[in-house]
């Protein structure tokens, strides 16, 4: 049996009996001993602390663990061995997230002191290089999307959607229609953040369900637009990987009703250089630099959702944007009459922007288009191979060509063998792989969403396919192997019910101690 799966590699995860860093606390142990200030300096500027107003001084020390440098280093290296990051595995099982290679050379630009030592309060004349990068990025994105102006304020995709919703609200407010237009329309296979971030602003959310062909229909949209429509937020291709060919009709229907259209291009990997938001009739759009543009996913850490608008919304963007003077110098422009204001501290997530800038510069216009072409080719190669695996299928509708990702189903295998998506996910860990199911709710039963991007070679895709093939073979011959997986991981089944129980969950050490005692 082993020979049949000669691509699969043996893998066994490391396991350390590692404490939470707070448990490493040893009173008096220090990471860095800060030298005392020399007498001469003290005489000149005082002790430094008595200058701080009493109202701003802590009365108690912060409750931080006291741990020596070497122990801290070991602690985090051990933890890192217990993860399965994008640089370890063929990370194509995280569809919609566009996990691709993050070129390591781009780190050198970000870690260069010219970037890393910048202070956000320093004079604009002293950081012209960084402002130039922001300005040129704006120009690149104008080409990519057809939009007329960009802001780099949002720190994530959902943050960018919130910016779009704020622009919509401000636009209707300026037109005296804010109270009346209180509905945002989206589709069931658009990213769920399109609904969630708009709901944060108090909008009522209308979701269009897909038809038998897997797409939302223009007729359904027409049935709900009205004088109450504030706007449309839509992902295209949708999370199923299917491109909505009626998108121009969609934006027209919404415009005719007086609404605005926002394009969720968080993941634009299949359409770079192929289609443009403006040509499809959108008033605004955003891109996630940590997806399509090769920035690392920070797991809730550094991200960027750059947002662009057409001419008529030019003055509504979040400030500051970067302008260019006649003498060629760059400046921060806060003078946008209808601006939704600042939506983040300072000027945008600069390190993420610098990495993406380097990536775009290394590829050029032709390279960006090639990214999309290879991503689509890779995806349809996988589609062809995976739908041949027993028990797997690509529904809504079956057999249709997909763009950059596919939402597959194990429904047939689950019904026939009892082995479903959850079991496959755990079994894949035995081969050093990861697989994501889908956003909730599971419209596609027993779902899994695969997105290969352009990064992976055919050899690596074949290795992943072989893992899926082997698990399917096991499900039909000896399902217990799959049902009892993982076998090579150090954590086996996780009881998720804890995260449903307010008495047990803890998102900080302090709340852990409160709920679970010492």
């Amino acid at each position: 049996m082993e020979n049949k799966y000669n691509r699969l590699r043996n893998f066994h995860q490391a396991k350390w009996d590692e404490e939470v860093i707070f448990q490493l606390h040893n009173p008096g142990e220090k990471g860095i001993i800060v030298p005392e200030v020399e007498k001469e300096i003290q005489n000149e500027i005082g002790d430094g602390i008595s200058e701080i107003p009493a109202s701003m001084l802590r009365s108690e020390k912060p409750n931080l663990p006291e741990v020596g440098q070497m122990r801290v280093l070991k602690h985090f290296l051990r933890l890192s061995q217990q993860t399965l990051g994008a640089d370890f595995n063929v990370d194509i099982g995280q569809g919609t997230c566009t996990v691709k290679y993050n070129p390591k050379i781009n780190e050198s630009f970000v870690r260069n002191p010219n970037e890393s030592e910048l202070h956000p309060m320093q004079d604009q004349s002293t950081c012209q290089g960084t402002l130039q990068i922001l300005h040129e990025m704006g120009e690149f994105f104008k080409e990519i999307s057809g939009m007329d102006r960009f802001s780099f304020q949002p720190s994530s995709g959902s943050h960018a959607i919130l910016n779009m919703a704020s622009i919509i609200r401000k636009f209707h407010e300026v037109n005296g229609e804010d109270g009346q237009r209180d509905e945002i329309i989206t589709t069931i296979f658009s990213h769920p953040s399109d609904a969630a971030a708009a709901a944060v602003l108090g909008y009522k959310i209308i979701t269009i369900h897909q038809e038998e062909d897997g797409l939302p229909s223009a007729e359904a949209l027409r049935s709900v637009v009205s004088e109450r429509t504030a706007g449309l937020f839509i992902t295209n291709p949708e999370d199923t990987g299917i491109y909505n060919p009626n998108i121009i009709e969609f934006t027209k229907i919404v415009h005719d009703a007086g609404g605005l259209c926002g394009y969720d291009q968080a993941n634009a990997n299949g359409i770079l250089g192929i289609t443009r938001a403006k040509d499809a009739g959108f008033d605004m759009c955003f891109f996630n630099l940590h997806k399509t543009f090769s920035g690392p996913h920070g797991s809730g850490g550094p991200a960027a959702g750059v947002i662009g608008v057409t001419d008529r919304l030019k003055d509504f963007l979040a400030v500051p944007i970067v302008g260019k003077k006649e003498d060629g110098s760059f400046y921060l422009d806060y003078d946008l009459p209808n601006s939704i204001g600042k939506t983040r501290q300072f000027y945008g997530p600069i390190p993420v922007i610098v990495r993406a800038y380097a990536w775009i510069r290394s590829l050029g216009a032709e390279g960006l288009e090639e990214v999309a072409n290879i991503a689509v080719l890779n995806n349809n190669y996988l589609l062809h191979k995976i739908t041949k695996i027993r028990g797997a299928a690509s529904p809504f509708p079956a057999g249709k060509h997909r763009i950059e990702q596919v939402r597959y189903t194990w429904d047939k295998m689950f019904k026939e063998t009892g082995v479903g998506t959850y079991d496959v996910t755990l079994r894949l860990a035995d081969f050093g792989f990861h697989m994501w199911s889908s956003h909730h709710p599971f419209i596609v039963p027993e779902p899994f969403t695969i997105e290969p991007t352009e990064s992976y070679s055919k050899e690596e895709l074949d290795e992943y396919i072989e893992a899926l093939q082997r698990i399917s073979d096991e499900a039909y011959s000896n399902p217990e192997i799959v049902k009892t997986a993982p076998h090579n991981s150090v954590i086996h089944k996780i009881d998720h019910s804890v995260s449903d129980d307010p008495k047990k969950w803890a998102i900080s050490w302090r709340s852990y101690l409160k709920k679970h005692g010492n």
């Binding site: 209308i206 369900h209 019904k415 009892g418 909730h440 419209i443 998720h496």
Partner: protein
């Protein structure tokens, strides 16, 4: 240790194989046997039991003597405890009802029954939604959403139940056809009640998905949304179902789960009304609106389970007078299939087809198509 109760309706499914569309009633069973039908219910139940046995779990199994449980259970190698029943009586609907009542008295933690919609009707009559119940689909008619996908998956759910693992409960509708009418070519179904059905919680990736809301929470959210939009001068006809009943509960009123209630100015003016009463009540009103929820796993919005809304009544109702309430889970379970309308009147069916804005939560709705 958990106690699992098991009732097998041994004749379930026999009518189907010989084209009788069900096995309700003594005469039908006779006819089925004459036509060569053989019992399969016990055999199918064995695959459920094997799934539990494989896991070498500790549990007590309580069942009925003979073909109503004991035989199948012993054949897979389990030694059951038996409830006391008068075995000299012929097996009938009443036998299932009596057995279920006894099981409830004996405090079973989960009651498994093997049968179809007819058996589900008997069980809901006996135990209501007091105890967890799961149907093993062995009958001809499986329209109620009280059954697992297949007999083996009932075993998997039961295993998880015994392990206390990943189990949640939902209300499962029990609906059944009038078989005599059905054999004549007429569809006539009724909603008989709700059973408390355990199901396996979907695996969701927590970080990206958040916690799915419970059915009860969602029903309350839906009720709050609609309550905001209701006006005092309108008569609301609230159709059967737990989602619509949550709206009546929202106003602190007494509603009927299976009937049509009439509300106006936040007061119930009649419970469980029939067609004639509805007509009489709404004569005096300027505006009438319907509040309904899809019935059954197949997504019918008219023509199944709410026949109080006759074609005559519906011919005077336009789409904008209809509010459809549904949890997202219920919509998802339709797997993309549209709502269905089958009132018996083509003109009415066509008029009411098209897109509806279904209320799915507080300030949340989904546009969903209905076809006939």
């Amino acid at each position: 240790m958990k106690t699992i109760g098991l009732i097998i309706n041994p004749i379930a499914g026999m009518g189907g194989a010989v084209g009788l569309k069900g096995t309700d009633g003594v005469d039908t069973l006779k006819k089925a046997i004459q036509l060569g039908a053989v019992p399969t219910s016990g055999e199918k139940t064995k695959s459920t039991l094997r799934e539990i046995l494989d896991k070498s779990l500790e549990f007590r199994l309580l069942t009925c003597a003979g073909t109503m449980g004991e035989e199948a259970v012993r054949e897979v190698g389990i030694d059951p405890e038996l409830i006391e029943m008068d075995s000299s009586n012929k097996i009938s609907a009443q036998t299932s009802i009596d057995a279920a009542k006894q099981m409830m008295k004996k405090k079973v933690d989960l009651l498994l029954f093997a049968g179809g919609d007819g058996t589900a009707r008997n069980i809901v009559e006996a135990v209501g939604n007091e105890i967890p119940v799961l149907g093993i689909p062995t009958g001809v008619k499986i329209q109620s959403s009280a059954f697992s996908i297949n007999p083996r998956s009932a075993g998997r759910i039961c295993t998880a139940f015994i392990n206390n693992n990943k189990i949640e409960f939902r209300e499962g509708e029990v609906i059944d056809l009038d078989e005599d009418q059905y054999r004549k070519g007429n569809i006539s179904t009724r909603l008989f009640g709700y059973l408390k059905i355990p199901f396996l919680k979907e695996h969701v990736q927590r970080l990206k998905s958040g916690t799915p809301k419970t059915e009860k929470y969602t029903q309350e959210a839906i009720a709050n949304d609609l309550a905001e939009r209701m006006s005092d001068d309108t008569f609301y006809l609230v159709g059967p179902g737990s989602t619509t009943k949550a709206l009546v509960d929202h106003f602190g009123l007494q509603g009927s789960l299976l009937g049509v209630d009439v509300i106006t100015s936040k007061k119930v003016i009649a419970n469980d009304v029939n067609y004639c009463q509805i007509l009489k009540l709404i004569e005096s009103s300027n505006r009438v609106e319907l509040i309904i929820t899809p019935i059954g796993g197949q997504g019918f919005i008219f023509g199944r389970g709410n026949q109080q809304f006759t074609p005559e009544l519906l011919s005077n109702i336009n789409k904008d007078q209809i509010h459809i309430l549904s949890t997202i889970q219920k919509l998802t379970s339709l797997r993309g299939q549209p709502f269905l309308i089958d009132t018996g009147n083509e003109v009415v069916n066509t008029k009411l087809s098209g897109y509806y804005r279904v209320t799915t939560g507080y300030h949340q709705s989904t546009v969903y198509k209905a076809i006939c």
